[in-house]
Structures are given as structure tokens and as C-alpha cells.
Symmetry: C2
DNA sequence: CGCCCATTTGACAGCTTTCAAATCGCGTGG
DNA sequence: CCACGCGATTTGAAAGCTGTCAAATGGGCG
């Protein structure tokens, strides 16, 4: 638990970020890594024609851009989805604690590896699944992660994104995401009210989305810091 | 250089893997991480309808599935593209050296972070770029990485993949990849003979593929091990 | 020389996008 | 309390990029 104390003693500055405001911008020379204390955030890139791709969603407790503790130039933008409380921790402090306390170093590495595993699944999602599957898969992932974080029950949760943002996660258009959500509703797999999603039949939705939670590595031996 | 010696002294077993044979299979309980000594390899997943998505290509010197040093169950399959010489290093040995020698731990973490950065770019590639851009982008990435590894000149290189595999990298069909390659040829951006690709005008191909090498982090301060 | 796999080509279907317009939800101001 | 305004969601029709299906061509190897 000395490790835990050392983490909590890390130097940091707190900031509150308003919805849709950037936390870190692509191209920035990085000095900090950001820990999300409350709220939801995403990471994204913009391609040539101005289209946006989101490649991860983060909830409280996540380290949003750990890569910036090591890599020099931010290769992506992090942005607040809701109002967020963010702790900015200096690069050097993170690297030092990782080097000096190997359990922490391994925990950070572990976090990075899971991050990568989720990316791989997202590549498969946008690359090889049709629109309905992509949306169903995303809803399953969010459900499972929120539940694992204790932010919701598995059956029902508050979606922190607009349909336009869901489109940017799945490589679709907002219009088509809407149609897929309607279809999933009509099929009875989910029930929607405003932003909240209720999963009526987990098994069927998971199968509609080709979802298998293994890639989240939730049950791996995890170091409790 | 004691670090370098320690790395070279890591226990390992060598194996030669024939083209299109698996190195590690999705779902395997992992005991090793694999270093590619010679040849080309990929990582991939198969989705519900049997379609395959490739999400990374590896060349000699790469650690193909470093995640398996920490994560318990392989969430993806690694496969040889050409005949490969692979060193299998026990999980425990890697974790121990990472914990005991922090420069090595950081180097491994760094490797994982760059891996992740490339994944993010691939998500954007398959999610938000049209077919021609995706193919051009992939050709640029391969060119740059091969050149950085000293395996080719920037202008010309031997593509280690069939068009079907290129399709699985880009989320397209083999037929459509073929059409895009023909278009890039007709436009004079590349010249192809069998599997070799010659880039006639790097600037134009990069702009056709919306390619910016920043995400490869080739120029970051890198620990020489 | 013949076989087999990879590449190339053509015609057509279909999923997703595009473009617009209508509807809804909700905070604000009268 | 109700009207207004604005962003988000819905809906419809039509276009277009990419996929599908087949068949032809090409290249390497036994």
C-alpha cells in the first residue's frame, strides 16, 4: 500500500473541462498525462476531409492519454464529453514512479496494453462489421465498462454521447446510426428513452453485435493500486 | 550496455514458422511473447461472419505480441506472412527484466505505446477514409516503416502481402483493393511489378493517403537497447 | 506443359451516404 | 404558463461507393 500512497501523492493540477472542450490537442508538445476523475471523455482524430474518428471513450478513473507520459507529441486529441474533472500529472513524475516502483510501472504498462486491446477490437468493428453490428457492439462495450466501473447496472445506462458522436465511433453517418438504433429498438433488443439505453436481452444484443468481452481483459489479474 | 546484454541473455526458444501459419492463436493461454527475428507477420481477428481483420504488420525486430507478456489470454492471432524466424521469450522473464531494469521496462512500455498509436491511426483509416485513401495510406506506412528498419529505400519496396491481405488491413474486398491499386498506378503515383511497389512521388502519394508519419513516432527519443 | 493461386475485369446489387425537411426536447424569455 | 429558438433526433428519397458474383488472365512451380 506504499505504492498506493505514492500514487496519491503524485504532483498534479486539477482542472474542470466543459463539455466538448479539448483536454489535449493533437500536435501539442506534451508535459502531462491526464487522469479523468469525473465525467466522460473521448479521444479522436480528424482526417483530410474534416471527418472525425473517435477511437476511445473514457469514464472516471481512466487515464485518458497515458501515452503522453512517454511520447513527445500528442498524436490525438482528447476531449470532454460531459463536464470533466481532470488531474494533470507531469510526465516526469509518472515516468519516475514507474521506474522506481515496478508494480506501478507494470500497472501502467498493463493499462496501456488493455488500451491497445480495445483499439484492436475497434479496428475490427469499423473494418469488418456491418452498421447494425457496429452499433450493437459499441452499446455492449459501453454497458460492460460502465458496469465494471460501478456506474450503472448491466441492463440500463445513460449514454454520454449524441448520435453524431456514436457515428464518429463507428465510422458511420449520424443518420445511419439513428436508423440502426431504431432497428435495435424495433427488434426489442434495447429500449431507449432520451439518452438512456436499456438492454432488454443481453445475450441477444451481444450476439447481434458479435460481442465477446474477452478483449476488455476485465478479469485479468489486475494490480490494485 | 548491461541492459543490452541482459536482453540478449533472456531465455528463449527459436522457431521457424512457415507462411500463413499461426504464431499465437486467439484464445490461447499465453506463456510467451514473440520477437520476430526475420520475415513478416501480422496480427488479426475473425469476426462473426468469418471475415478477417488485420490490424498490424510486423517486420524483423518487432515484438509481435508483447501484450501476451502481461495479459493472460491472447485476444488476437499472430500469423506469419512469409517464413519467419521467431524467438519465444517466457512471460516471466520479460516481466522480471522490465521490473528489475527500469530502462528496459520503459522501452517495452514505449513499444506498447507506439503500437497503440498505430492502432489509432488504423481505426481512423478504416473508419473515415475512402478506399483509395486507405490503400494509399497503407502503402505509405509500409514504405516508411520498411525504410526506417533499413529493409528498403523509400522509393521502392517489396510488399509482403497479397491483395486479399491488403483488403483485410483496410476493411475492403480484394477486388476493390485491386481497383484502387490500378487507379494509383494510372494516376502515376506508384508503379507496380509483381509484389514490388515503387513510389513515384512520395509527396503526392502521402497527400492521396492523408499520410502524416507523426503517429509512427519514429523520431521520438528512443532507448537504444 | 499443366495446375493452382493471385490478379484483373465486368456487370449488377446493395448498404450506406447525402441532402432536405419535419419533429422533438428542452432551456430561455415574454 | 406559454411561445420561441436551437440543437438533436427522425424520416424520406435518391445517389454513389463498395461489395458480390463470375469469368478471364497471368505467373510461378512441379
Amino acid at each position: 500500500m506504499a505504492d498506493r500512497a505514492a500514487v496519491l501523492a503524485l504532483p498534479h493540477t486539477l482542472k474542470t473541462i466543459e463539455p466538448n472542450r479539448p483536454i489535449v490537442r493533437e500536435g501539442d508538445r506534451t508535459s502531462f498525462a491526464c487522469v479523468l476523475l469525473t465525467g466522460f471523455a473521448i479521444r479522436q482524430k480528424t482526417v483530410a476531409d474534416g471527418a472525425r474518428q473517435i477511437f476511445s471513450m473514457h469514464l472516471s478513473g481512466d487515464i485518458v492519454d497515458l501515452q503522453n507520459a512517454v511520447l513527445r507529441i500528442a498524436d490525438n486529441t482528447a476531449q470532454a464529453l460531459t463536464r470533466c474533472q481532470v488531474a494533470f500529472v507531469p510526465r516526469e513524475a509518472i515516468r519516475r514512479i514507474a521506474a522506481e516502483r515496478s508494480p506501478i510501472g507494470e500497472a501502467l504498462w498493463y493499462d496501456t496494453l488493455v488500451d491497445g486491446s480495445i483499439f484492436r477490437e475497434w479496428i475490427a468493428n469499423v473494418g469488418r462489421r456491418d452498421a447494425r453490428m457496429r452499433v450493437a457492439h459499441l452499446l455492449c462495450e459501453f454497458a460492460m465498462r460502465m458496469q465494471a466501473a460501478g456506474l450503472s447496472t448491466q441492463e440500463s445506462y445513460e449514454l454520454p454521447m449524441t448520435q453524431e458522436q456514436l457515428a464518429d465511433c463507428t465510422g458511420l453517418t449520424p443518420v445511419h446510426v439513428n436508423r440502426m438504433l431504431m432497428i435495435l429498438s424495433e427488434e426489442g433488443l434495447i429500449t431507449r428513452t432520451k439518452r438512456s439505453v436499456k438492454i432488454n436481452n443481453w445475450h441477444n444484443l451481444a450476439s447481434a453485435g458479435d460481442f465477446d468481452s474477452a478483449y476488455l481483459h476485465l478479469d485479468d489479474a489486475r494490480l490494485a493500486i
